[in-house]
């Protein structure tokens, strides 16, 4: 049991996981934000879930962006030179 029954009439965990992005984006009305935070404060499962989402975002941020292909770069630099001839 990861949840304290006293808060049962608040958000369910299943509802909360759908609100995580709104929360992290700061796109939540203050009242909902309070309910969200009070749920997370009492629920170990949702606390772990929120942490996993943060870890997911930060790990995604460590990926490298694909580079321009050498052919495309050559063509564009050629065009650039043409502009300044």
């Amino acid at each position: 049991m990861t949840y304290t029954p006293a808060t049962y009439d608040e958000l369910s965990c299943q509802e909360l996981v759908e609100l995580v992005t709104d929360y992290l984006e700061g796109a939540m009305p203050p009242e909902l934000r309070l309910r969200f935070e009070s749920h997370v404060g009492r629920c170990g499962g949702c606390r772990t879930y929120l942490e996993e989402m943060r870890q997911t975002i930060s790990a995604t941020g460590s990926l490298t962006v694909e580079a321009i292909s050498p052919e495309a770069e050559r063509a564009l630099l050629e065009a650039f030179r043409g502009f300044h001839r």
Binding site: T2, Y3, P5, Y8, S12, C13, Q14, E15, V17, E18, V20, T21, D22, E25, A27, C43, G44, G45, C46, T48, Y49, E51, E52, M53, Q55, T56, I57, S58, A59, T60, G61, S62, L63, V65, E66, A67, I68, A72, E73, A75, L76, L77, A79, F80, R81, F83, H84
Partner: protein, 234 residues
């Protein structure tokens, strides 16, 4: 430090967390504007290294954004190429009222939309599949005590494995399997670090739709990580 004083860092503004965030954004914008000004001057002077720097930084993103509007990768490459030419032609008209990046992507989006109309009728933003962030089986059913609460809660990610090369591969795979618009949004937001506003403008999305797409994408990536990391710790 010149820049900080130029944008006015008053103590009252710096006091609250929200305003501090705004101040940091304004500082970043001032830095960006100065960088843009130098870059544009170099481009006008015919500095090839400056142009190379710009295409290295943005070409792949231009192609990625264009792909949200046109049906094939080849067309997206075309649109990106056209955009660079339009940028070179329009350099003298760049006034620095928006950032160079915003300007660049506005040109791209306009061109990609025109192309998209010619090449195919509907924009590909129909992919609002209503899949759940977490498998419903992991919550208590409606007839159980505490319906909607975890029956199989997440167990947490081992931090030390998150940055392993293999884990990155799992994330890349998960992103590759996403519906196209979700893939574009998460790549711009979380891999390339764009702001929500920048993504909304470039992809012509409402704030809400951008957030829904980001949510679906991040939830899928988290689920893929969980499957991979938890499977191994069994």
């Amino acid at each position: 430090m010149l820049i900080v004083s130029a944008i006015g860092l008053s103590p009252s503004v710096a006091a609250s967390v929200t305003s501090r965030h705004v101040t940091v954004q304004r500082y970043a914008r001032a830095m960006e504007a100065e960088e843009d000004r130098q870059l544009v001057a170099a481009l006008r002077a015919g500095d090839e290294a400056a142009f190379k720097q710009l295409i290295d930084r943005y070409h792949a993103s231009l192609v990625r954004v264009a792909q949200a509007y046109v049906p094939t990768r080849a067309l997206a490459e075309d649109v990106a190429q056209e955009t660079w030419l339009a940028v070179l032609e329009g350099l003298d008209r760049f006034e620095g009222r928006s950032s160079l990046k915003t300007w660049l992507f506005r040109i791209l989006t306009n061109r990609a939309k025109t192309r998209g109309m010619r090449e195919r009728r509907s924009l590909p933003f129909s992919a609002f599949d209503s899949d759940d962030a977490v498998d419903p089986d992991r919550f208590r059913g409606p007839d159980e005590p505490w319906p909607g609460h975890w029956s199989a809660p997440p167990r947490g990610f081992p931090e030390e494995r998150l940055l392993a090369q293999e884990t990155r591969g799992v994330i890349e795979d998960a992103i590759r399997r996403l519906p196209e618009t979700q893939r574009t949004v998460i790549t711009l937001r979380d891999v390339e670090g764009w702001s929500a506003d920048e993504v909304c403008n470039a992809l012509t999305l409402s704030e809400t739709n951008q957030r829904v797409l980001l949510h679906r994408a991040r939830s899928s990536v988290r689920a893929a990580l969980e499957r991979y990391l938890e499977d191994d710790t069994k």
